[in-house]
Homo-oligomer: 299 residues x 2
């Protein structure tokens, strides 16, 4: 069913840790190294945002500089604007991620920018990255619904994606910011946008994995996940956030898709991460282990 490679970008060190109490730069560097040792080849490691607004992301340059170049690994950094892009590139980011929203109201309320203003910022980011050969991934939030407007028409999402490409974004990722995606919605948006996109899914309503599966079935080959399911919903213990990397790898392993990721090693990273953040993580596979353990009769 699933042909070709599947690329997983672990956003745990950024999208996950940003909602946690701050942990030291060295612990964040160690987490990224552990993910790479488990086989991840693409990790979002930092956000160049105001440390006052997001204390957990302070030290973004130090994280990237400490990691340096890891052979065969792409280290991404979230940048909200030109200044962040310059700092990220200077610190050695190998990919820039820049968010804008398919929901005008979400954009206005969360970053106080219109979609047009976000696109102008994206264009600046793209130019700064391109100047140094660093690609930009435009992450379109609320692609599968908005907490303010409700449904977002697939055609409107396609319009935003088109404009991202017009201003030079090298890649586009569709994000389900508040966990409103469903297999039906995934299908409608992919019909309008095509499958050359990444999917960034959340488990807010437990639909992350089924939506990833629907995306896979339809040909999507890039997914954002977070080790341990870290992130997303800081408001309630156990409330699921990002699609857990272990969950997607468990599914892909079973489908015979080689991700190069060692699930047992990844589960161990999630276990250490629980100690680091000081609470349980919502990833069911991290908790229950691979379905058939290595070395078991069917392993």
């Amino acid at each position: 069913m699933v042909a070709g490679d599947v690329e997983i970008r672990d956003v745990g060190p950024r999208d996950g840790l940003q909602v946690e109490s701050p942990v030291p730069v060295q612990a964040r560097v160690d987490l990224v190294r552990a993910l790479v040792a488990a086989g991840l080849r693409h990790v979002e490691v930092a956000a160049f945002v105001s440390p006052k607004a997001v204390p957990a992301m302070a030290g973004a340059s130090e994280v990237l500089e400490s990691l340096g170049n890891l052979d065969g690994v792409v280290l991404s950094a979230l940048v909200p604007n030109a200044r962040g892009a310059r700092d990220a590139v200077a610190a050695g980011a190998q990919e820039l991620t820049a968010t804008l929203s398919a929901s005008a109201q979400y954009a206005q309320r969360n970053v106080r920018m219109s979609v047009a203003e976000s696109l102008a910022a994206l264009e600046q980011v793209v130019a700064i990255g391109a100047d140094r050969g660093v690609p930009t991934d435009a992450v379109v939030s609320c692609s599968f619904g908005s907490p303010y407007e409700g449904e977002i028409a697939a055609g409107d999402v396609a319009g935003v994606v088109e404009r991202c490409r017009e201003v030079g974004a090298d890649r586009v990722t569709l994000a389900d910011t508040t966990g409103m995606a469903t297999p039906r919605g995934i299908g409608e948006v992919l019909d309008a946008v095509g499958t050359d996109v990444g999917l960034h899914l959340h488990e807010t309503r437990g639909t992350g994995l089924v939506c990833a599966y629907e995306g896979l079935r339809r040909g999507v080959r890039r997914f954002d996940c977070s080790v341990g399911g870290l992130g997303g919903s800081p408001f309630a213990e156990g409330a699921a956030g990002n699609l857990a990397t272990e969950g997607l790898v468990n599914l892909l392993d079973d489908l015979g898709v080689d991700t190069g990721i060692d699930l047992t090693a990844l589960v161990a990273v999630a276990g250490d991460l629980e100690d680091l953040v000081g609470h349980e993580l919502p990833s069911p596979v991290a908790r229950s282990g691979p379905r058939v353990a290595a070395g078991s009769p069917a392993g």
Copy 2:
């Protein structure tokens, strides 16, 4: 994509509550009534097992007798043997569920019976039910893997299903007892068994909903779920158990499949259930609410 009706059997009052500290008969009756008020038309309400072994299921006859006949609703009872079947039928059960295992080792270790002995017990149950016009659903545990043997060959599952039908089971349900099902496994077993089966799925590894979706895509129209995701894994708070009824209804609503179940009402039942059992339930939809709230712009 999904044609025809989908039937949901809520097993929360039985499969869910059996792993909890005992709650009074009246509270269990009230739970069933609340589920019916929310639109459920099929509920597993009791287990005729030893109250010494499973104290939470004591008073099975009282539960059924107190509920009586609910118009248009099927009340099921789990029965392990002929004695249980007689008691259940006498108390007014409208369906008997009897489990046996696709895993010989699981059967031996958990009920200390061989598969052949379980089939003999099933045959007795079927006969007792048939005598009073009460159908029996044979629930085949470990249909998608066993914690002891690992993978169970689809042909072996098909063999057990065939024998269930030979001894007269009116319906067969395939249960993923320890959360080992995957879309691949669902496909392989359904290819061998056909789609005239129920699926009883668990979220132990977060695969319940994606497996239900794969079953739906392939034509399965009967699902066991549990309100709030109650049940399954008593060992860890937040460890997901049964596929949550809210999660499946949320998916089906979005696919345009009318289940007759009011999701908002069902979420309220799950909330009350948390108070009853004294801890949080793992259902993401129960926690986060429907994706588009009634009355919202897109509702």
